[in-house]
Point group: C2
Chain length 347, copies 2
């Protein structure tokens, strides 16, 4: 019998439906785009599931899909955002992030040149955070059936038994800290989308926080809760903390770190910077007596803190479940969870 090799197939400049069909072109996509960037001994097995060995301890498990538009923005792109976002969701639970999955939905006709940039940004971000991408999936949908590319990353980390961080754990008297300037990511994406320009460009703060968080937890294991203020911004995060714990939170307006250019862009667009997404900041609740120690550690991680870490407020027994801002002029206003959608597709 005449056994011949499968026919060679042409190169493509753009992603075709067949790249998601589980056949020859799917395999080519995996071998020419994903493995060269992500490759590691687990992923390279190309089985339907990654097999990994973990040490003893609790596991943290999280998922996030990224649909940011535009895909490329000052300071990053959907690729590093997708890695850092999931790394951070693990880290704020007190976990050491270890393994990520990557699930792509790609629109037919998407340029390989863009896909390669995104995948390369994911690989760089993963290496910087010390995590491996160990399993993945790619679907291709027709023109007009998705907007370019969506990326899901799920992640696994290991939590040391001595840590028990949860939004429910806030205690009266806890100090509330934020690790740096607020609103950078959301306004970087918005200004890129709207074609606005400011004297100094606003850059996304997308960065992995796991090393800074690990330093904090090593020196200050008394931390009660951490959360990264992504969608809905600081306003959502503080309300979630207040709501979950049944405590009140008071923040001092004049301590909230917002860059002047972000403040300016927010005023121009009529947006409260406290509702704007961050992708490289963490909110920490810790007993007051350790607050300065946490602040100092934050300040020591320049890339994560942008030099603007601050103690911004206190947990109180009054107005349980509510967040109140004390203004510079001595007034008080409620900081509600945002109701509507000011900033769609920011992450």
């Amino acid at each position: 019998m005449d056994l011949q090799c499968p026919a060679p197939h042409s190169r493509h400049e753009t992603v075709q439906m067949a790249h998601g069909a589980g056949g020859v072109l799917s395999r080519e996509l995996t071998r020419t785009v994903f493995l060269p960037s992500f490759g590691n001994s687990i992923l390279d097995m190309l089985d339907d599931q990654a097999r990994i060995s973990l040490g003893p301890g609790k596991i943290a498990f999280t998922t996030d899909t990224f649909v940011v538009s535009p895909l490329f923005f000052p300071g990053g792109n959907i690729g590093d955002l997708a890695v850092n976002g999931t790394v951070n969701d693990l880290a704020v639970g007190g976990a050491v992030p270890l393994y990520l999955s990557a699930g792509f939905v790609i629109e037919e006709g998407f340029f390989f040149s863009d896909l390669t940039k995104i995948v390369s940004a994911m690989a760089t971000a993963a290496a910087a955070a010390g995590v491996s991408i160990v399993t993945g999936d790619t679907k291709v949908v027709g023109k007009g059936q998705c907007d370019g590319i969506f990326i899901n990353t799920s992640g696994i980390g290991l939590i040391e038994d001595r840590f028990d961080l949860s939004c429910k754990n806030l205690r009266e008297g806890d100090a509330i800290l934020v690790s740096g300037s607020l609103g950078d990511h959301g306004m970087a994406v918005m200004t890129a989308r709207e074609g606005l320009s400011f004297q100094s460009e606003i850059s996304s703060d997308t960065v992995a926080l796991n090393r800074m968080i690990s330093s904090i937890l090593r020196d200050v294991p008394e931390v009660h809760a951490m959360r990264d203020p992504t969608r809905g911004g600081l306003a959502s995060t503080l309300n979630e903390l207040a709501d979950a714990s049944g405590k009140g939170i008071v923040v001092e307006e004049d301590r909230l770190p917002v860059r002047p250019e972000v403040q300016g862009a927010c005023e121009l667009l009529g947006i409260d910077p406290l509702t704007v997404a961050n992708e490289g900041k963490v909110v920490v609740a810790v007993p007051q007596k350790r607050a300065e120690d946490v602040l100092r550690i934050m300040q020591g991680h320049e890339d994560a803190s942008s030099g603007m870490a601050a103690i911004i407020g206190t947990v109180v027994k009054e107005h349980p479940g509510m967040v109140v801002v004390r203004t510079a002029l001595g007034g008080r206003r409620i900081l509600d969870m945002p109701l509507g959608e000011q900033l769609p597709r920011i992450c």
Copy 2:
């Protein structure tokens, strides 16, 4: 000071951009749609990451995004498909599936009535498979920016140390089995999409295989490899097994279980049923002397085998990396990995 509660908000019939914004409506979506169906002690914590305790052993970790169109088809919908698909990807690695994540991308204007049906199907499928959905994420994109709803599920399972299943482990002389009829899922979706009808309706075979697989592994731990023939069908799966192991595979055409109505639909549409996706079947490679035992166990799991489990072929040392079909008339043809895209958005 005058503290008032956040304003009450109206009910919606369809998903709004604000349901993905991380604010009040995101919380409402979680509390009214997801928690009532998925709720469990881990998910209910509503932290950014699920915290879970696993026994000792290796971990299996997998991800899959589902973009099937239409969303509802005979025998299932995107919801049970998304749960069963990830459960099966864990199970074929020899893992006991335990925890899933669910990441939704929803198009603005998607009906809550449809979302509720999908979420309810996910919950039912998860309960049937004995897994918990412990963490999730929802993004909403504008009209025309995705096609209805896409669902990513990632999953974690535990692998007993004595199992070492991998496509690389095929050995000369292994029998190749398939657990039931081929092509049902893909043709159910295609006929629903094309509005075709046949005398007997073709139903998707979407089902969780973990209990059947667990029975097989308990009684026949000698199994070398398992894989579920999803995208690209049996043709892709056999080629992946041959490729990864460097062995050849010969299958007997007259042993391939294909329902007459699926065969008819395939002929009508000009599709080879061996390239059509299955969502409730497993291909097993096992030493010949245990093949009948595996077959008997498959036949004992009626829902998973559709009464059509079969020993379909053998692993050979000839033509390494290639799959050959021996036809009923004694001819031989190469079964290539499918090149093109005959069946887009089938899962």
